[in-house]
């Protein structure tokens, strides 16, 4: 994926990542967390803005910093870094709002052809899973790294 990305920082466990979005609204710190769920080996992908002054983390905010493509590419990059370290991990992602979920779907659609060489991707629809198809409105997404 040769789209420009932001430099990433992470803790030792590679479960929490941070990067800084830069645009007309200034510098906005973004946080990505892979949090363990009740199912062993399944992690939830959380993504939001960190308030530099208060440390408050907001996954509803729409920062409109003019760099959504670069931000999305950076989040996808964390998926590679995370699954490089946690090779057996399964990842679930959904948006905090319908529009955010739609944004995720558009992002996945954009990268799906390339992503499919490294990941299996499913979409959540009608209380079931199906292999990800473009132009279908999903409630959530499930990702598994392919083993080589």
């Amino acid at each position: 994926m040769n789209i420009e990305k932001y430099p990433l920082k992470s803790g030792e466990k590679l479960e929490v990542f941070e990067f800084v979005s830069e645009g007309p609204k200034g510098r906005i710190t973004k946080i990505v967390q892979y949090a363990p769920t009740n199912y062993k080996g399944l992690y939830n992908l959380g993504f939001g803005d960190k308030n530099a002054e208060t440390g408050f983390i907001d996954d509803i905010a729409i920062s409109n910093n003019g760099d959504s493509e670069k931000v999305l590419a950076t989040v996808v990059a964390t998926l590679y870094a995370f699954t490089d370290k946690h090779k057996e991990a399964l990842i679930y992602a959904t948006g905090s709002t319908k529009s955010r979920t739609r944004l995720y779907r558009m992002g996945i659609t954009k990268y799906i052809d390339e992503a499919l060489s490294d990941f299996y991707v499913w979409g959540e629809i009608n209380d079931d899973w199906e292999e990800f198809r473009k132009d279908v409105e999903y409630l959530g997404f499930f990702v598994q790294r392919k083993t080589n």
Binding site: M1, N2, K5, P7, L8, K9, S10, G11, E12, K13, L14, E15, V16, F17, E18, I31, Q33, A35, T37, N38, Y39, G41, L42, N44, L45, G46, F47, G48, I57, D59, T74, A77, T78, Y80, A81, D84, E88, L90, Y92, T94, S96, D118, Y120, W122, E124, D127, D128, W129, E130, L139, G140, F142, Q144, R145, K146, T147
Partner: protein, 53 residues
């Protein structure tokens, strides 16, 4: 590995910042985690492809 290889590598270079370990074991997005656990209860996992999983 040269610069061209680095640029085309899918796995990004990640700088380790131990201050981020502060967030380990903290749930930063509790509502999303709850959504994930609800999904698990309702529909479970898709049929996984890798035989090791």
């Amino acid at each position: 590995m040269n610069i061209k290889d680095l640029k085309s590598k899918k796995t990004p270079i990640v700088v380790i910042d131990n201050s981020l370990d502060f967030f380990n074991d903290k749930v930063l997005f509790p509502e999303k985690l709850e959504k994930a656990n609800t999904m698990l209860r309702k529909i479970g996992l898709p049929k996984l492809k890798n035989s090791c999983s």
